[in-house]
């Protein structure tokens, strides 16, 4: 038998999070993550005839409802399906991962109390499940974009990876943070549901980005353009990135006024980069908080 010399020391001190070392441990536990994601997916669609088709129906229903609403309200956006879906899929990944991520530690209390493993796996598996749905829904969108002749456009498409990574970092950050917080304060779950509702409408998913820009440009607060405040919402930046990458046109030929934020591709990329950097800092903080609290999870559940 191979004898390893690795020594673990456990004390009352909550260990300091060393990112590199912790990443190695998480990598060693990746099979738990994969198995948990597989389990969640299996359980989610167990004993249902349509299975994963349900996850594809969600954006289609949204599409039908909001196309109707937009027509009735007279705020038509050219090529609305592409606009709506490119933003909505990002939102779905964000809100679904965060919703179940926040409950991840609580719902697995029995595991946490009886098995030693990297606790981060639990919220991460919620994000993993969200990612699988995101991939399925993205495939549908891609198919639509190709079949309808809308097409993919360079160089805008190059923005997609940046927008995706930013979305992922942001989602992981908040899932880690809320799942740890939820162990102490059970209201976090309720609060999150309401917050997500408000947050959805504070993000340009069903309405045009330019509408906000148009309103906001009419004034400043404290000498700062109002639009900057709107863009403090990181999901605005992420969704704007997805829009620019897939919907592409600030003002489609057929439209009377712009749909997307009126800015250059470089400006959108710049805003996204700032959001990514801030999210990465947030990730380090949220991870540190989670890691610090996770030593006491078994006791508090």
């Amino acid at each position: 038998m191979a004898t390893t010399t690795e020594t673990v020391e456990r004390t009352s001190e909550s260990p300091h999070l060393r990112v590199g070392e912790r990443l190695r441990i998480l990598a060693a536990h990746r099979e738990i993550l994969a198995n948990l994601v597989r389990k969640e997916l299996k359980v989610k669609y167990a004993a249902s005839v349509l299975g994963a088709v349900w996850s594809l129906l969600n954006p289609l229903v949204y599409l039908a409802v909001f196309s109707f609403v937009a027509k009735v309200l007279g705020a038509g956006i050219a090529n609305y399906p592409v606009y709506l879906l490119s933003g909505l899929l990002a939102w779905n990944l964000f809100s679904a991962s965060m919703g179940s991520g926040a409950r991840a530690v609580l719902d697995n209390a029995n595991l946490v109390k009886k098995v030693a493993f990297a606790r981060e796996i639990l919220p991460l598996s919620a994000v993993g499940v969200g990612l699988v749905d995101f991939a399925l829904q993205s495939a549908v969108l891609l198919l639509y974009v190709i079949v309808s002749g809308y097409g993919l456009h360079l160089p805008e498409l190059a923005l997609w990876p940046l927008a995706f990574v930013t979305l992922l970092v942001l989602t992981v950050t908040l899932s880690l943070w809320f799942s740890a917080l939820n162990v102490r304060y059970r209201d976090v779950g309720h609060l999150l549901n309401i917050a997500l509702l408000v947050w959805f409408w504070a993000t340009p998913i069903v309405y045009a980005e330019f509408q906000v820009q148009d309103l906001a440009q009419r004034g400043t607060w404290f000498g700062i353009p109002r639009l900057a405040f709107y863009m403090l919402n990181p999901m605005v930046d992420v969704v704007a990135g997805f829009h620019r990458a897939l919907y592409v046109f600030v003002q489609p030929v057929a439209a009377q006024e712009p749909v997307l934020f009126d800015g250059s591709l470089g400006w959108v990329a710049g805003v996204l980069t700032i959001t990514l950097v801030v999210s990465l800092v947030g990730l380090r903080l949220a991870w540190g908080y989670f890691f610090n609290r996770s030593g006491d999870f078994a006791e508090e559940l």
Binding site: M1, E6, E31, I32, K39, L111, K113, K114
Partner: protein
Amino acid sequence: MNASAIEVADVSKRFRIYRDRPTSLKQRVLSSRSRAEDFWALRDVALDVRQGGTFGLIGHNGSGKTTLLKCVAGILRPTSGTIRQRGRLAALLELGAGFHPELTGRENVYLNASFLGLSRRQTDAAFDDIVAFAELEDFIDNEVKFYSSGMLVRLGFAVAVHVEPDVLLIDEVLAVGDEAFQAKCLDRVRAFQREGRTIVLVTHALDTVIEICDRAAMLHHGELHAIGMPADVVREMRYVLLGVTDPNFVPEEGTREAEIAEVQIVRPNGSSEGAILRGDPLTIVIDVRQHEPLDELDVDFAVLDGATNHAVLDAGTSRAGLDLGRFEKKRVRFRIEAFPYEPGKYWVTVGLSNRATGHLYHVQTQRYLFEVVDAPRVQERVQVPVAVEVEDL
């Protein structure tokens, strides 16, 4: 070679027991302070488990055994003290951790195995073994919600015994299943021992500790009460179970020119386990070994009442007029025709001494235990007058 696999240094663990603990922001804001009571599950526990050893951890319910195991496994954080642990560790605190009813047996095996630190490849390799061990070949692709509880336990255990850690913590999980399955489990533990793995075993089965452990410790109200050879610790545990604590107690002494090799308390049915009835015959069999030629060796024993610790019966070879002479190994049988005392627990102390000088070669004080129960009463039939009345209604 004999390095420690686990070093526990002065570990204490405090649990706060909250009344009205705020679990929401509102409560947190409104009640400025929640009342907390401290409960020390462990206090200054220090012990070492050497590499390749099998360590038994015993104690009452609530004595802190599981808490200690959880601290070693890293599930709980000690309140003070340090635990150092070498090598890959797997903790079996629960069978079938992560099992989900909607998944098939096969899927649950992979899920559970990953929690116990098995890679997918290792699980692939062990899969057929696992299924065979659990005796579930025909059901492995059924969802486990259709399993009986016995099947679930077997599957959980089958995965658990296929882990390949350097250090294995086992909490009470050996106590599942029927006797045949338990025997199989013990075989696996012996295989782990042969493979040189370190095992820490928490159990209530005291005889198992004596049988398979090479060292043991007893926890009592969170404190380390005894540590040493399994037989001594188990005897101490039985001693505490009787509610007797004597700080001056010396379990074993003597210069060992002659040694007590084995003692059996033989019940009327020929076994050396189980309770006897009041009035039953009892035989105390003592095997003695002389390491050097000795004259005037006296073998004697005493039976002590467990409730009072007073000797109620004793006998010896010298008093019976026997001279054992010089020998290598001899067996002495003391036959008690009918044990006359009240139901209860009784200790047996066995001693070897020189009958001329009184020098003690080997004494085992209150090491052996037997229990006396009341014979079930069978009522004699007697004439009882019965009055009969009949009236019109």
